[in-house]
């Protein structure tokens, strides 16, 4: 028999706790990506001379594979005295990688704000910080929620890369089960189903968030 139900149920608890690690990596990674991306996009506008440096940095990060960046943080950084455990190194790499993408999304969001909003802020003598916090960001975010949401799902689907540095997330756990029992069908199928379910759920959540934001800003 190809599919063994008893075996599937037996490994389910182990996979479930590994799933929590995957979700943790996703949430922490995305929180990092979303906030660091925002910082990069804001600094680029607020401190014009950083523009070139940030562009190069973002391009560099986007043009190299995430897996290499993960390895870099985990295996190369210790050579410079920065020793990170696998989970931290992996999540940091994922967060920085997606921050580069998110910063471009924010940038597009800022570009879409009418020039008159900046000028009114100057005329009212608002500080740069207040202008971003109260005027620009609240208007720029709602339209880019779908784009950010897509990156959340994409990031989540890349967490199996963490198995490459032996983080005990879903993929790594499934691989271990496979190699110990010589049964890969059940663990891999369950992992696949889990990713499918989570992706569908997050897509639905993002759509409803989007609807909510649209309704609030359409007033």
């Amino acid at each position: 028999m190809i599919w063994d139900w008893a075996f599937a149920f037996e490994i389910l608890p182990v996979l479930a706790s590994a799933a929590i690690v995957s979700i943790e990596a996703t949430l922490i990674g995305f929180a990092l990506a979303a906030s660091l991306g925002l910082v990069l996009a804001v600094v680029r506008i607020a401190v014009p001379w950083t523009g070139w440096t940030i562009s190069v940095l973002v391009e560099l990060i986007r043009s190299t594979p995430l897996l290499i960046q993960i390895f870099f943080l985990y295996f190369v950084f210790p050579k410079f005295g920065v020793v990170l455990d696998a989970f931290t190194a992996g999540v940091l790499a994922i967060g920085i990688h997606y921050a580069a993408y998110c910063s471009e999304v924010y940038r597009a969001g800022f570009d879409n704000i009418h020039r008159g909003q900046w000028e009114a802020s100057v005329a009212l003598n608002l500080s740069a910080w207040t202008t971003f916090r109260d005027i620009i960001i609240p208007q720029a975010i709602p339209p880019i929620v779908p784009a950010l949401g897509n990156y959340l799902v994409a990031l989540f689907k890349e967490t199996p890369l963490l198995s490459a540095i032996a983080v005990l997330e879903l993929m790594q756990t499934a691989k271990i089960i496979g190699s110990e029992t010589f049964r890969y069908t059940e663990p891999m199928t369950l992992v696949g189903l889990f990713f499918l379910a989570m992706s569908l759920v997050s897509a639905a959540l993002i759509r409803s968030l989007e609807g909510l934001l649209n309704r609030r800003t359409m007033r």
Binding site: G116, A123, L124, L126, Q139
Partner: protein, 259 residues
């Protein structure tokens, strides 16, 4: 000793690449004076206001506000380009109302009016709200204080924008064609508010306008701009009644013909 001008443009020039938009502008505006700027499109009227609001840099000359340089700072007796802290200090004396209103769309009329008083002046929310309520009352919009800009007509939005600018207690108010984006039937209500502002407050006002009737009745002085220079200026009855310059005559003729 004569009183210091509220605003002084001292030989100010503005260029975009090879295009000279303002050419050695000299203009003094007295405290409380109401000055209208008229002139053909592209003559540099908006640029004058934008430079004073620090929305544009200047290429030559110095702008002074109450005897202090706006664009520069004095250091060891010399004028050096101003830093942001200096600009913000002087800029606090100036407010501006735009042709396209530029209200914050995600904030109610009230929120628009208290944002800067709270974050810039450090006012307490309750005080800021009380002051904003007075101002919204002055512009006749007490009822609309919880409305968002998208729920207001153009005339109402512009009146909120005026209240918002007033909330920062500027000494100088700039108006750039503030009725040009409005349907004709809404122009009157906005002009009425500006009239009221001129009466009730000891404000220095500088306005670019195409409303010749209003400029004539409201201002102490009218400046006619042509190709980046003040071509003619004077009290409204002189400038409108007996223009000396041929270009002024042509312009007024064309404008009065059209409207």
């Amino acid at each position: 000793m004569t009183e210091q001008p509220m605003v002084r443009f001292d030989n100010v020039s503005k260029r975009y690449g090879s295009l000279t938009v303002l050419d050695g502008l000299n203009l003094d505006i007295a405290r409380g004076e109401k000055v209208s700027i008229i002139g053909p499109s592209g003559s540099g009227k908006t640029t004058v206001l934008r430079m004073l609001m620090t929305l544009e840099t200047i290429n030559d000359g110095v702008i002074w506000v109450e005897g202090e340089p706006l664009t520069h700072m004095q250091r060891n007796g010399k004028l050096v380009p101003a830093d942001l802290a200096h600009i913000r200090k002087i800029r606090a004396k100036i407010g501006m109302v735009f042709q396209s209103f530029n209200l914050f769309p995600h904030m109610t009329a009230m929120q628009n009016c208290i944002e800067a008083p709270i974050t810039v002046l450090g006012m307490k929310r309750a005080d800021a709200e009380a002051r904003a309520a007075e101002l919204l009352d002055m512009v006749g919009l007490s009822e609309k204080k919880d409305h968002y800009p998208s729920q207001l007509s153009g005339g109402q939005q512009q009146r909120v924008a005026i209240a918002r600018a007033c909330a920062m207690r500027p000494k100088i108010m700039l108006f750039d064609e503030v009725t040009s984006a409005l349907d004709p039937e809404l122009v009157g209500e906005v002009l009425e508010v500006i009239r009221k502002l001129g009466r009730e407050h000891d404000l220095t006002m500088l306005m670019v306008t195409h409303q010749m009737g209003f400029a004539k009745e409201f201002s102490d002085r009218v400046c006619f701009f042509h190709a980046g220079k003040i071509c003619e200026q004077g009290p409204p009855n002189e400038l409108f009644g007996a223009p000396k310059n041929e270009r002024t005559r042509q312009f007024l003729h064309a404008v009065l013909e059209a409207g």
